[in-house]
Symmetry: C2
Subunit: 445 residues, 2 copies
């Protein structure tokens, strides 16, 4: 039997404690399977006295993660502290430079420094594994790194933030507005005290930036992700979506347009009979399409101690077995420079919600502005009855909600039409626009 | 750059030709990605003169696959001939004994000789890869081998035969009976001239036997799979299922009962709002549940030249990169002996369709037999109106269809009740029974 794999864990929150606990409980089974034992020799966390329900007495305690990363007593450094800079970045860099393999769940770190860290790992001949950074237990990183190499990937998209998906699911089921559901989610521990990072789409964007590199072989480019969160989604939108045969999901989407890469995170109307529409609550799903493979969709728990620890341990298994794969599936030197497609050129259908003054010619003026931009409309819905929760206000008000669904068109055209409509002064507040994706997978139709 | 990986392909049907073609077209890209080129040095097929749309002039032609398997000019033997014995078995054994890696899409071979072949591969220090053998492009073999090691798997189940899934989908959509849809599927090339292997459930059983070993670390035991096909499914069953909120799918299911393994393939009623119910047409899906990971479901194309070739090439990438993983995810010597759970002990709900003579006391007699076995009924449906296509016959006949849905009960109990009902003589033909699975994944509820 080979020498044991010596592991140092930095960060002992629920995930770190779970990884530690599973390795302690099932060490013998794992050694049987791998032909090699894995031992946590060292740990590091902020608070030494906290009871985490695990026995740390056999591990050396470090107060400084960088010191742990450089320790001669570890072969692999497991970074579970989080954060795109600070301790996480310094210690991961230190570990790689010291020739230690790195396993991390840190999507922020990978999204902002992924290319540089991949180079560093390769320069030192060590692994940089991050299955747990994207979509929890879903083996999307390994799938994209190792399973789809025969294909030119067309697109990858997914629901990658459980907080947003939980909120949207609850808003739809319970007919409640965003702020109320968010507040409950915070009480339940499904949302942070400061929810911006999740509900604003930034977490999804981090994960998307990582998948984009894996999909298209480009350098990681988080700063080029177009990001919209779910904060402005209302019951009116959800009701209109349902009436039109759609559901609203926060999707991260990356496409090879043939003329650069498009990366975007935004609320999206997806057909209610599409598999992605059925991914509810805290589940995540990622769909990939490629030329030979066709469509593939993976669905599972995107967060939580157990699923995340399971992904971290899968990465440790690979290190123990000596399977060192380049971080983004090909040598860092072969990653192409990122070339951004113009977001405004995005093609697809659009949902537009307007609060229109109830006066003669208003609808005609709207229709004219759309026509000027060459946009053809699939439907116009102008019936307050479909929006029961708003009826009271509508009756008292001099405006009424109008919903437009466009056929496929360029985003540039929609934006220009909406700008013109706003200038015309027939609407009482800024238009709301939600992109429609008819992407399908697995329907076999 | 490392020496090229020299590949020999035995079997040049649509999959073999596609693998050859993709390697020829994208060889330079693959070499960039892998840091190593892959070259098809030798091929073998039955008919040398056939035009396959690929240029074989650079490859040495073999008439005998065993001779190709032993050739000193290959590092990896790709077996795409199929069949559980004969050429496929002989050549794969010869390749492994000669120290060649093996990549195969042959589920029959793996299901019947998997354990022995895994040992042979290990004894010779080579890979035995078979991603394409189960569920086409879905990376289920790699996922189970390499990604879920932290977990004790509870169950794995899936839709793994596109022919059956296409037929059931069409029967439901088009309201046509099995024989008519099968005949069309044969014309379309979705079903073989002799369809028994697919529609009888044997192909699914082969794939299930492989997944069982990966899931539970047991020796492959195809002979212990309980198998029922879809031949007897009628419109009556589909209509009753729809009325009750179910859809009928041919599932392969493997469970660790805690008292042995249960492997079974049979038509199954699944809740119409479950993700597996939405997997239509030629798509496949596999769901896995484990203690830390929770539920995971993978969905994609289960057959076809492109998806299958994509999976074969993924296996070749692993060989080229030197990633040699034990065939069933752990050393063959560590595979436990297979211990069969008693199928008749299966717990769950049951759908039972009876053709009952329309005479006083008949329903009461049925209910009594169920009660004797301690079976409680969730519903009894006795209304010919729900079965419009049968009305004519019902009106002319002295029997009427009755559908029972049981609560969770033991299969043993259902079978004994049905035996007693048959002896009582109130029914005009043998009862039909379909198992109900309420297994859920991804609903987040």
């Amino acid at each position: 039997m080979t020498e044991p794999l010596r592991i140092g864990i930095a960060g002992l929150g629920t995930v770190g404690a779970s990884v530690f606990g599973i390795l302690a409980d099932r060490g013998a089974e794992f050694a049987d399977r791998l032909g090699r034992s894995m031992v946590v020799t060292s740990v590091c966390a902020r608070d030494r006295s906290r009871d985490r329900g695990i026995d740390l007495s056999g591990a050396v305690w470090f107060d400084d993660p960088v010191a742990l990363a450089r320790s001669g007593d570890i072969d692999v450094f497991v970074e579970l502290m989080g954060g795109e800079d600070g301790h996480a970045k310094l210690s991961v860099e230190a570990a790689l430079r010291a020739g230690r393999h790195v396993v991390t769940a840190n999507k922020a770190l990978l999204a902002t420094h992924g290319t540089a860290l991949a180079r560093l790992a390769e320069d030192h001949g060590v692994a940089l594994n991050f299955e747990a950074a994207v979509a929890g237990v879903i083996p999307i990183v390994k799938t994209m790194r190792e399973c789809l190499g025969a294909n030119r990937i067309r697109h990858v998209y997914g629901i990658m933030n459980g907080t947003c998906n939980y909120i949207l699911t609850e808003m739809e089921r319970e007919k409640r507005e965003f702020a109320a559901v968010l507040s409950d989610a915070q009480d339940l521990g499904y949302a942070e005290a400061d929810p911006t990072f999740d509900v604003g789409g930034f977490d999804t964007a981090h994960k998307l930036a990582i998948l984009t590199s894996l999909a298209f072989g480009t350098e990681v480019s988080f700063e080029d992700v177009y990001i919209e969160g779910i904060e402005k989604i209302t019951q009116q939108d959800l009701n209109a979506a349902a009436e039109l045969g759609f559901r609203i999901k926060l999707l991260g989407v990356a496409l090879d347009t043939g003329n650069g890469i498009e990366q975007r995170v935004h609320p999206t109307m997806v057909p209610i009979d599409s598999p992605i529409a059925d991914v509810d609550g805290v589940f995540n799903a990622v769909a990939i399409s490629g030329d030979h493979m066709g469509d593939l969709m993976l669905e599972g728990r995107g967060a939580g101690a157990g699923p995340t620890a399971s992904a971290v341990i899968a990465d440790l298994f690979d290190v123990a077995a000596g399977h060192i794969v380049p971080a983004f599936g090909r040598p860092a030197s072969k990653l192409a420079a990122y070339r951004q497609a113009r977001m405004r050129a995005h093609e697809g259908g659009y949902y537009v919600a307007l609060e229109l003054y109830d006066r003669p010619g208003a609808v005609a003026a709207i229709a004219k502005r759309m026509a000027e931009q060459g946009i053809s409309l699939e439907s116009i819905i102008q019936k307050p009855r479909m929006l029961p929760h708003r009826q009271e206000r509508v009756e008292k008000s001099d405006t009424m909600p109008v919903v437009l669904i466009t056929h496929d068109t360029l985003e540039q055209a929609v934006r220009e039409a909406l700008d013109a409509i706003e200038v015309d002064g027939h609407i009482s507040s800024s238009p709301r626009m939600i992109r429609i994706e008819k992407l399908q997978v697995g329907t076999g139709k």
